[in-house]
Symmetry: C2
Subunit: 279 residues, 2 copies
C-alpha cells in the first residue's frame, strides 16, 4: 500500500516518520477519517474544515488545503486501486531536534494521507444490528477535537470486541449518575418513541455523520433534542443508532443485557443517509 507523507508517495511498510516526531512522542497531532465511496470522498470538505479548525486551536501549522488533500486522495485511491475504503489524514507538530514538551519555534509539521481498504466490519451488522458493551469513558478533556491521543478509545473498543461486541458505549459519571458519551470511534443517537435524542456536545466529538443524520431527521419532521442522556434511561429507548464515517448508520440491538429492536426510524435514517452519500 502506498501512502503520502510530507510531499512524497512512499510504501506504508517503509520507514517514513522520524523517531522524534511529536505525533510519536507526545500525541501532539490530529486526524480525520473520511469514507471513500466509488472513488469519491463524501463530506471531505467538512472533515478538512474540522481538521483545520482544530489545528488552529492547537496552533499546529496546517499547510495543506481541501483541493491539495483531495487531489492526493484521488492519486492514492488510483495507485492503491481502492474505490471504496477509508481516507485517513493526520497532521502533527513535526519532529523535535531533541525531545522536549516545549514547542520549538521553527518546525516543519508532519502531514500524512492514507487511502486504505475498509477496516474489518461484518457486513451483516447493518441487517442484524450491532451489540454494544458499556465501558467507562476515561478520556481527556480535549474530546471535541480529533486528537491522536486515543489510547482510552482503543482500550474501550478492544474491551467491547473481547466481549463479542462491535463497539463500546462509553459513559462518564456525574454525582454518582452515569451518562452516555460516545463510542471508541462512533457516536450514538436514540429514538425515544417520539423524538430523536442525541447526547449533547460536551467533551465529545462534533461528529460529521451525527450532524448529517440529525439534519436528515429534522428535515423528515422529527424533533431532535440534544441533551445529557443518562445510562439509566437508555433501556426505555425504542431504538438506538450507532453513527460513524465507516459504520454510517447502524442499528444497535443490544447494549450489555438490554435488547433493542431494529425499528422503522433507524431504517428510514439509514436509507436517507445512504442516499445522501451516493448523491
Amino acid at each position: 500500500m502506498k501512502v503520502f507523507f510530507n510531499g512524497r508517495i512512499v510504501n506504508s511498510d517503509s520507514p517514513t516518520i522520524k523517531a522524534l516526531d511529536r505525533g510519536m512522542t507526545f500525541g501532539d497531532g490530529l486526524y480525520e477519517v473520511i469514507k471513500v465511496v466509488n472513488g469519491k470522498f463524501p463530506f471531505i470538505k467538512d472533515h478538512v474544515g474540522r481538521l483545520e479548525k482544530s489545528s488552529k486551536f492547537f496552533k499546529i501549522k496546517f499547510e495543506y488545503n481541501l483541493d491539495k488533500i483531495e487531489a492526493i486522495a484521488q492519486e492514492l485511491s488510483s495507485i492503491n486501486k481502492i474505490e471504496s475504503g477509508e481516507l485517513f489524514l493526520e497532521i502533527t507538530r513535526g519532529a523535535d531536534t531533541i525531545r522536549d514538551h516545549i514547542f520549538e519555534k521553527e518546525y516543519a509539521p508532519t502531514f500524512l494521507e492514507v487511502v486504505q481498504p475498509l477496516r474489518r466490519i461484518d457486513a451483516n451488522l447493518w441487517q442484524t444490528g450491532a451489540k454494544l458493551v458499556t465501558y467507562p469513558d476515561m478520556r481527556h478533556g480535549l474530546c471535541e477535537h480529533k486528537t491522536i491521543d486515543l489510547l482510552p478509545n482503543v482500550l474501550a473498543k478492544n474491551y467491547a470486541h473481547s466481549k463479542g461486541g462491535y463497539e463500546a458505549l462509553m459513559f462518564r459519571t456525574k454525582n454518582g449518575e452515569k451518562y452516555v458519551t460516545e463510542g471508541g470511534s462512533s457516536s450514538y443517537i436514540f429514538f425515544d418513541g417520539e423524538k430523536i435524542v442525541a447526547p449533547k456536545i460536551d467533551n465529545i466529538l462534533p461528529s460529521i455523520t451525527r450532524s448529517k443524520v440529525l439534519s436528515i431527521a429534522r428535515s423528515m419532521g422529527f424533533e431532535v433534542i440534544e441533551r445529557r442522556v443518562w445510562l439509566d434511561e437508555v433501556q426505555r429507548m425504542k431504538e438506538v443508532m450507532l453513527l460513524s464515517t465507516v459504520s454510517k448508520v447502524m442499528p444497535v440491538v443490544k447494549i450489555d443485557d438490554m435488547n433493542f429492536s431494529f425499528g422503522s426510524v433507524t431504517k428510514k435514517l439509514m436509507t436517507a443517509f445512504e442516499e445522501m452519500i451516493s448523491s
Copy 2:
C-alpha cells in the same frame, strides 16, 4: 544524533517509523525518561521495571530487558558523546497493516531508545527557584502509567512557559474544590512547617524521583503524608518542591501570585538527592 530503533542504530533525522505505527495513529505506547549522569543511568532498573509493568497492563509485548536496554544506552551515549543528558525509551504496539482500533493478533512491537543532551533548562533555577502557573488537569484516566498520550501535558507546560513559568501546576476539581495533581512532566511535594505532604497517587504518576525523595525524607526523620492537597491550602505551605528525572529536586518560589521561600528542607533534600544520584 543516532538513535536505536527496533534492533538498528539510525540517524534521528532519518525516516525510521512506519506511517501506521500505532504510536503515531493511536497513542498506543509507553515511555520512560532516565537521567544520564557521567555515562551512568541512575534508577534505570526502576524505570525499566515501571515500563515493563505498564506494558503488561496494556498488553503490549515487551521484548527487551534491563541488560539489553542499558547496553544500548551505553552504546548510544558513547556514539553521541553524551556523558550527561537524557535517555528516552518508548515502546508501542507496532505498525498496523491497515489502521484499525482493534488489535492485530500478530504484531511486531516498536522499541525506540534515544540518548540526547539535556533539554533546555536554565541552570539558575536550582538556585533562584522555579515559577509555576496553575492550569486545569485535562488528562485522561490512565495517568498512573507513562503513556505517550501527552497532549494535555504539552498544553499545560507550554501555557506555563508562555506566562514566564517553568512548569504548570495542574489541578482537578471535585465538588467545586480544586486539588493539586502534578505538572506537565513533574510532580510536587510540600513542606507544611512540620511534615512533608505529597499528593496521593490517584490518577497521577507514581514518580520514581518522588518515591526516592520521599524515602530520603523519611530516613531523615521527616513525617511524610500522602493525601489530597487542595489548591486553597497551598498558600499556607512553607516550602514547595518540584521533582522530576531531569529537574531532580528544584525549589519553587512562585505559584501564580503566591510567593514561597527556598527553605532549609528543600536544601537538605536537594543535597541528599544529589548524593544519591552520584553514588
